[in-house]
Each structure stands twice: as C-alpha cells, then as structure tokens.
Symmetry: C2
C-alpha cells in the first residue's frame, strides 16, 4: 500500500486525498491553517459520486511532522508556489512521486526543480468542487484526473509505472482517471478550456452557460480556443479542430459551471494568471506565435487582480 | 446670421447648441421627450468655460415644427440612428449643412444617405460633459470640436467653406474649434483614444487614471492604440508613432475621465459598439488588417450590452 502526503486541503486536495484516506491509504495532509479544527472535526467530502468522511484525519501545518511517503499530491493554488517549493524539498526525495494537481503550464518544471530526483507527474483535474469550510468539501460535478509524467526534455513519457501506480490508487479510491502518454499535450488541451472560460468568467462576470448563449461571447471563446490551438502547435503539439469543436459543444451542454478563477476572484484570492496565461503566452511567443486576444484577456485579469488586492 | 437645428438635447447638443442660442443664433432643438419641461424651465449650461442660460429656448418633439435652417447639428447617440435618419430627411435638404457631433466611423456616410444634397461635416467632440436633468448640462472639462467635411469618395476635402462657416459660429459662441482638412484621419485619430478607453472603462470598470497607473492595463491600452493605428494605415491614413505616444502621455496627465461609454453603461443606455468598434473593425478587415485585441474588447462589450438590456 502506497502512502501519500497531500499538500493543501482545499477542494482538490480534500476530494482526492479524502477519498484515498477513506479507502484506507495512509494519507497525511499538510495545511497552512486550521489543522487543529480539521483534526477535531474530521474531513467531510460531499460528492455527486458518493460522500466520504475521514474522522481520524492526519493533518498538520508542519511538513517535518509528516513521515516519508511514496507519493506527494500537490493541491495548492499555483499562486502560493513560493511557500510550497521548500515544502516539496522536505516531503519529496529521490524516488518519491510528486503529482501536480494544478492548473496551467510549467508547474511540473518548477516541481522538478524543487524536488531533485523525484518523479514528477501532472494531474489535471476536470472537476467542479469547492471548499465550504475547513475540512468540508462540496464536489458538485465532473471529477476526472488526467495523469501524465513530466520529462525534463519535454518529450512524451508514455504511460509510465509511476502514472500507472497513481492511477491505480486513485481509481481504487473511487476517482475517475485517464492516463495520458504526453503531459504537454494534456496541459495544452486543458488550456483550450481554461483560457477562455476562466478569464471571461471573471472579466465579464458570467457563467459558462451565459457565455455560450451569447453570440459575441461564444465567438470570443472560440477565438481564444483557436489561439491556444496555435500556441500548442508552436510548442510542437497538435490539437485538431475536432477537439476544439467538441469542447464548445460539451461546454454548451454542461451544467453551468463557476470556474476556479471565478471562485478565486469572488473569494478575494489571487488569480492564477502566471500558470494559466503568462506561461503559455511566453511559450508561444518564444516559438514566434502571437496570442493577442489571450494576451488582452490576461492583461485585463492582471488589472482586476491587482486592484482587488490593493 | 446662420440658423441652427440641434437634434438631441443631451450633453453635447445642450452644450454647443446652448452656447449658440445664448450668443444670439436662432437655434431650434429637437428632442424625443421633455420638450415642455425644458421650454418651461429653460436651458442651463454649467461649464468650466463659463455658464449660459437660455430662458426662452425653442424646443419641440416635432421635426415638422422646426423652420428651415442653414445648419443641422446631430447630437444624438449613434445607437438611435434609426429614429434620427428620417428626421434628418425632414430637417436637411440640398444646401443644408449637417454636422455629425457623434462618435465612431461611418456616421457621415449614413447622414449623407439620409439627407441627399446636404453638405455633411463631422464634428468630433473632445469633451467631458453630462446631462444632469432635462435642460441641465454640466460641462466639466475639455470641449474642443474638430470639424472636417465628408466627401463621398472618402478623400480629404480640405477646409471647405462649410467647415469655415460652422467653425466661425461655434467660435463666436465661445466654443473651441479645430478645423481639419481630412475627416477620415480625424475620425481614426479620435478612435486611437476611444477604442481603448471607452471599452476598458466599461469592461474592467475603471477610470482613465486607474488604467494608466496599472502596468498591464496601460500595456493593453497601447496594444489597442497600435491596432487602431494599423487600421488607419489600412484605410490609407497615416497616424505616426508620436501621436500615439502623445495620447498616452496626455491621458496620463488628464483629470480622471468617465468615458461616454461608461456613462452610457452606468445609465443603462445602449453602448455605441457599432460606430466605435464594429465600423472600424470592418473597415480594417476589408483592407486585410486584423485588430484582434480590439475585436475581443468589442465582443466583451457586446456581451455586457446585451446582458444589461435583457
């Protein structure tokens, strides 16, 4: 039985880590605050796919109090990376598998730098969930984790033993998993959704349903998706037109969805602009590709984020 | 002494028409509503450049009640064009001078179509003023009118007799006037300001001062200005870099300014997206030039406008 550390007990860490703990895996949560309250009250996952309660939850705010583990799930926001990087150095050593349950591009690169010798995976969460209170997660829709292994040279790693092992555990604990031979393609494909909907949901304050029902908003969503497709292409990854069209159709049929960025904005938290926008923009620019509508959206978000925190 | 009809008694019609009336020109105002209240209460212009009161104001909601005039000032929003076009057919005939005190591109073309045989001028107002109540105008800053004559072939008309005549009257009544030999250049130059600031002031809900103080918002403003510059170039008009840079510097030094589009949005009025965005986008596109950040902004505005009126 593999043991786990989960960095961050928000919606994502609580959902996937909570299921692992409830399934009997040794799971240790690292939080920045509320450790005592969560220990006293337990971890409660209310989920469309079945509720879980972990009464005897192992949770601490001290990374050195966590025993050596096989797998570290990083489930913090990308915006708190500065405080997470040293923690990763403590929790992960050679042989540890680190799974980045984060949004955006480039998150595995920095994890690899922070945990030398570790095997780094990306875990892309397609999930609608939120933290209601410390230790209380509400999972309302979706939930698949797309797993793929990072390679330093950026090439597809294939479905490695580490990917298969983590996929096995997540599946055993009741989470849906897709394994992917190429992390970079998976990340760009997720951006096809995140770049339009996360940003527009904040800038014009609308849900996915409103955006898809309006001809101009929908057209802008598609323009942004096409820019991401071009960015991926510049990065050596092909996303075909059918994928973009399917994403539009799927979102149209989707339950109205409050994006993670909208939840962050409404909650007064910093926005993940670096990971979701600036990193892909920089990657595309380095390859000579402009993403002008994406860049405009990123700058609007940066303005709103800065003003909200001023 | 030339006689005037003024279509629309908002901030612009009230300011320039009110000054003409106060200076002794025969001026007849056409309004859609509040004619009686304005007739009873008079026209009051409070202005940084001196107040004016017209106690005995000629105002009606019936275009056929207005006697033949030499000059028609069109001071309605571009969004109400459908109701203004037939009025123009009534008020203006061959020999009448029609001055379009409106924003955007293409407004003179449609005026020329609505008033066959009339001489059509553009009057670009650089002014910060608002309608406080029927017949009550508050003019807080700026105020120069940039006059130029429209030609059916789009070529520069030079400073024509009609331009000189209207300039003389406006100047005599206390308004600052600049005459311009080329209407199309003047219109594109105004768009260099209007396209970034009008749109962003609505979409991110910020004043010019906030936009200029934020590095991302300011960078986006400049991107949008450069796109307008490229659009003008595609339309055969050169706007040099120094103009764009001066516009940035001037706006930085400006008194914080609520754009006309922001006032419209806050007032629940339709936004001038056709004239300020779609017309220049179409003109540029027809010449093979993309304005992607401008188009993204236009689509965001269209979404917000549609939602606000739903």
């Amino acid at each position: 039985v593999r043991s786990y550390a989960v960095v961050g007990l928000g919606a994502v860490g609580g959902l996937y880590g909570g299921r692992l703990a409830a399934a009997g895996f040794p799971v240790h949560f690292l939080v920045r605050r509320d450790a005592e309250a969560i220990r006293a009250g337990g971890l409660h996952v209310r989920s469309v796919d079945g509720d879980r309660t972990v009464a005897d939850v192992s949770v601490t705010d001290d990374p050195t109090a966590i025993p050596p583990v096989d797998v570290v799930l990083v489930a913090t926001k990308t915006t708190s990376w500065e405080s997470v990087a040293p923690v990763l150095g403590t929790l992960a050593g050679p042989g540890t598998v680190v799974v980045m349950l984060q949004n955006g591009l480039g998150v595995e690169e920095r994890a690899a730098a922070a945990a030398p010798g570790a095997t780094v995976l990306g875990g892309l969460c397609f999930v609608c969930a939120r933290l209601e209170a410390p230790g209380r997660i509400d999972h309302v829709d979706y939930g698949t984790v797309n797993l793929a292994e990072h390679r330093a040279d950026g090439a597809p790693a294939g479905v490695t033993d580490a990917v298969a092992a983590v996929a096995e555990d997540l599946t055993a604990s009741g989470s849906a998993v897709v394994t992917n031979p190429d992390l970079v393609t998976a990340r760009w494909k997720k951006l096809v959704w995140n770049i339009p909907y996360n940003g527009l949901s904040v800038v014009v304050g609308a849900g996915t349903d409103e955006l898809m029902a309006d001809p101009d908003a929908r057209a802008l969503v598609e323009v942004l998706m096409r820019e991401v497709q071009a960015g991926a292409s510049a990065d050596g990854r092909t996303i075909d037109d059918a994928f973009v069209e399917q994403m539009l159709v799927d979102t149209e049929r989707m339950t109205p969805y409050a994006t993670s960025m909208r939840l962050d904005f409404d909650g007064g938290r910093p926005l993940e602009i670096d990971a979701i926008y600036r990193a892909p923009l920089a990657r595309a620019r380095a390859a000579g590709i402009a993403m002008p509508a994406t860049e405009a959206l990123a700058r609007q978000l940066a303005f709103l984020d800065r003003r909200a925190r001023a």
